[in-house]
């Protein structure tokens, strides 16, 4: 899921300063799961706004804020409250913010920072394991992605900064290549070490991404 967290209070105060009346949007999917933009956080945001002397005209938690049509439908259902607001505040990832902004010309304020596509280790602890690079080599790397888990995204083994099997960028983390190497050894296969991996086709990750199921 997309991991997001609240923007710093000072930044929110500044960006919300011109507005007195706000309509709040949360997301029932990722932002709810990582406790950044679910029902509870939207309610607390409303209370915080009240404390800032601002009025909330209404709110909605969209099932998946990234769904553009669904977001449009939900905004239509709350048309009066939306019209009454000076701006919409979205407690969802950047995708969710843009579902909303593509459905209205009103000012749309994102209240979260989107961090990464994350796995859940345990509640409240998230780890990035996939970079959505469009050119997956997990089948060769024992199910550990070097593009993401290696701080440099190296494809042919560890860098010279590996120290006692730890990453040069974060000494708390195991070197991704050490983990790949050890698991491949346990699987008794050479995997990715059998070949020199050529440069990645970053053209597959051209922005903005578009995909159509045929």
């Amino acid at each position: 899921m997309i991991i997001s967290e609240a923007k710093p209070v000072a930044e929110l105060q500044e960006v919300l300063a011109p507005f007195g009346k706000l309509f709040l949007v949360g997301c029932a999917a990722c932002a709810t799961a990582c406790k950044a933009g679910g029902e509870e956080e939207v309610f607390r945001f409303q209370e915080w706004l009240a404390g800032q002397g601002k009025e909330t005209t209404g709110s909605v938690i969209i099932d998946e804020a990234c769904h553009i049509q669904r977001a449009a439908r939900d905004l239509r259902h709350h048309a009066a409250a939306v019209v009454a607001a000076d701006a919409l505040v979205v407690l969802a990832c950047g995708s969710g913010v843009q579902s909303i902004s593509s459905n209205t010309d009103k000012r749309v304020i994102g209240a979260l920072n989107s961090l990464f596509l994350g796995n859940v280790r345990r509640f409240g602890q998230y780890e990035e394991m996939c970079s959505l690079c469009g050119d997956c080599i997990l089948n060769e790397t024992a199910g550990i992605c070097p593009v993401t888990n290696c701080a440099k995204g190296l494809l042919n083994g560890p860098c010279g900064g590996m120290k006692n099997g730890r990453c040069e960028v974060d000494g708390e983390l195991d070197c991704a290549w050490k983990l790949i190497y050890e698991r491949l050894q346990r699987q008794q296969r050479p995997g990715v070490f059998a070949r020199r991996v050529p440069p990645k086709a970053w053209s597959r990750r051209r922005k903005p991404g578009r995909h159509k199921i045929r």
Partner: protein
């Protein structure tokens, strides 16, 4: 054939040193240092070392070449994508630079622009392949070059890194990709150098042991805590700690390492960090 290549081919014990381009626009001080170097076959020119922004290495390496000195151009994958790397390599060839040290590069986090986006479009193995391709007259896209460059590409290895088997598999890949020599990261114990040389022997690629002049225990501790791939052992730190003249002790430590390299390796790469005047003493 570059002077470095000739010396290695002739089996002569090779000494390389290292200079950094200036943080600014005046090349005069670093050129003066380079011209005064004694007993050195070639000089590495570092590439935004430690991810700290400096003048581009290509310009200093070209200037050294113009003055009849022998540069080893360091090129990292951290700050340039494949287009920029190939472009710089062609430029290097035009300036007569042949020796290359191709590196992944320390992460941007360690430098003075920690918010920079690290590139790493290629890794060191892939960059070696690219250099081999250019020398065959083809760029990465397979397009022919008007005049192929001549390069003598080298790579780095960290003899102290663990797990060593994993380090070694990358060394093998680098050799398959055309690495013609290795310069190691700083070596502080004879046994790590022996281990490297024993394992690397079948590959028959010359190795220059990296020797770092550590001028104080404080510096050793800083290196251990802050510089990627650096591991100054406790006993070396203790020697520097108890020395009345730590710089002198540092020179003695470096000289001992040169002694191991004379027995085991094909050369040394000296990293003296501003104490280039100590090189004759280290080599004595």
């Amino acid at each position: 054939m570059s002077l470095l290549q000739q010396n290695l081919a002739a089996g002569r014990f090779v000494v390389t040193a290292e200079v950094a381009p200036p943080k600014g626009v005046d090349l005069a001080p670093v050129l003066a240092v380079a011209e005064k170097l004694q007993g050195v076959t070639a000089v590495n020119v570092t590439d935004n070392q430690g991810a700290n922004m400096r003048m581009c290495a290509l310009v200093l390496a070209g200037e050294l070449k113009r003055r009849g000195l022998e540069p080893v151009l360091q090129l990292t994958c951290r700050d340039r994508n494949r287009v920029a790397l190939q472009s710089d390599l062609l430029g290097a060839a035009a300036l007569g630079i042949e020796n290359l040290l191709l590196l992944s590069g320390d992460h941007s986090k360690f430098g003075d622009h920690p918010d920079a986006r690290p590139v790493f479009d290629l890794d060191a193995v892939q960059l070696l392949d690219v250099v081999a391709g250019l020398c065959r007259g083809l760029d990465m896209a397979g397009k022919p070059l008007a005049g192929a460059p001549v390069f003598f590409p080298g790579a780095a290895v960290n003899p102290a890194a663990e797990p060593f088997d994993l380090v070694l598999q990358k060394v093998c890949k680098k050799v398959e990709s055309g690495a013609r020599f290795f310069q190691t990261q700083a070596v502080f114990t004879r046994c790590e150098l022996e281990r490297l040389m024993d394992s690397i022997a079948p590959l028959q690629v010359p190795v220059m042991a990296g020797i770092l002049l550590v001028r104080s225990a404080k510096m050793a501790r800083f290196l251990n805590g802050n510089i990627p791939g650096m591991c100054v052992p406790d006993e070396v730190v203790a020697r520097l700690d108890s020395a009345t003249d730590p710089l002198r002790e540092g020179v003695a430590i470096a000289r001992e390492a040169v002694g191991w390299a004379r027995e085991l390796c094909q050369g040394v790469h000296l990293m003296t960090l501003g104490h280039e005047d100590k090189i004759p003493e280290i080599l004595r």
